[in-house]
């Protein structure tokens, strides 16, 4: 005998999940992530194997020459130019490896600037330092950069989460 219930849900029909709400959720998620994604456009990538200090600063980073000081190496644009342990033992304010790199870079930029009016040597530099490096080392890096004509620094930090 056929009751109404049996006619509506015969045993052969498989259960289907409600796709509409799922798709809704996913679409909203996609839009949200896309929005986040596009605003993060031209940012400097944090260097690997170092932890940036936390700060309340809100100034946006610029795309400049990048110096990273990790616990083992001092890196310029991702290539190691000096070892931290060696530099800590060395007297004086100079870091020869870094100085050489910066000088080359500056000469390069100035040479390009002769031919291209849009390029000027600004002396801007972003420094990413691990949160545990001593001031002594930072000071050496700053002194070396200053001596080679780079005098406008941005210290990279990671933003505090508290909003």
């Amino acid at each position: 005998m056929k009751t109404g219930r049996q006619r509506r849900r015969p045993p052969t029909e498989s259960a289907k999940p409600q796709m509409t709400s799922l798709v809704d959720v996913l679409t909203v998620l996609v839009f949200f992530l896309l929005k986040n994604f596009s605003t993060e456009g031209d940012i400097i990538t944090p260097a690997k194997n170092l932890e940036l200090p936390i700060s309340s600063s809100k100034i946006k980073p610029e795309n400049t020459l990048n110096i990273a000081i990790s616990r083992k190496h001092i890196m310029a644009e991702g290539t190691p130019v000096a070892l931290v342990d060696e530099e800590l033992d060395r007297q004086g304010t100079d870091i020869p490896g870094l100085a050489r790199y910066l000088e080359d870079k500056r000469k390069q930029t100035e040479e390009i600037a002769q031919y291209d009016k849009n390029v000027t040597f600004t002396g801007k530099l972003t420094i990413q330092g691990d949160r545990l490096i001593p001031y002594f080392l930072l000071q050496k890096v700053l002194a070396t950069c200053g001596a080679n004509g780079y005098s406008s620094f941005s210290l990279a930090v990671s933003k505090k989460d508290v909003e």
């Binding site: 996609v30 309340s56 600063s57």
Partner: protein, 176 residues
């Protein structure tokens, strides 16, 4: 059996539950959209975006050295900062024992370091008081001991900036 379900619904209402019946198509057969490829695409897109999202928000702290400085020491005193208002030289000494504010020829009470961290709230309190006393002052010199850890320097700079001393000058500490 299934024919009865998929077939046209003469009665409307009771025959199918939910949205389909209210949709009220004349034929009564709602087309079943195949959502699977769309779901696939969305899920792939989401996993891609999630991996690309930058979780650590970056910011920077800016400061300048005067050109050609840094040969000998690293006195980051900017010469043009003295132009506005009477200059008040406030120096904050950061050592391993804590802070000491020195300014205008007098020393304020030292702020000892706590058991594991510096006493930043206390320093902030002192800087606020100093700001009230010298509202035009904007410069502060940080005299930092060479063994101080980077995070502490940054946090000290934060305290200075939050208390309206935006021109932070780093001074060469004691060399080893």
């Amino acid at each position: 059996m299934s024919g009865a379900v998929a077939g046209p619904a003469p009665g409307g209402g009771k025959h199918r539950g939910g949205i389909a019946s209210k949709g009220g198509s004349a034929m009564g057969t709602p087309i079943d959209l195949d959502m699977t490829p769309m779901m696939n695409m969305l899920i792939i897109l989401i996993s891609f975006l999630v991996t690309m999202v930058v979780f650590t928000q970056l910011a920077v702290i800016k400061f300048n050295l005067p050109p050609q400085a840094g040969g000998g020491g690293d006195q980051a005193a900017s010469p043009d900062s003295t132009q506005k208002g009477p200059s008040v030289d406030i120096t904050v000494l950061v050592s391993e024992n804590g802070f000491q504010i020195i300014g205008e020829g007098r020393k304020l009470d030292p702020i000892p370091k706590g058991t594991k961290d510096y006493d930043y709230p206390r320093l902030a309190q002192f800087m606020r008081k100093l700001k009230e006393e010298y509202p035009t002052a904007e410069d502060v010199v940080l005299l930092i001991d060479s063994a101080i850890v980077y995070q502490d320097i940054i946090t000290t700079m934060d305290v200075m900036r939050e208390n309206k001393f935006p021109n932070i000058l780093l001074s060469g500490g004691v060399y080893r």
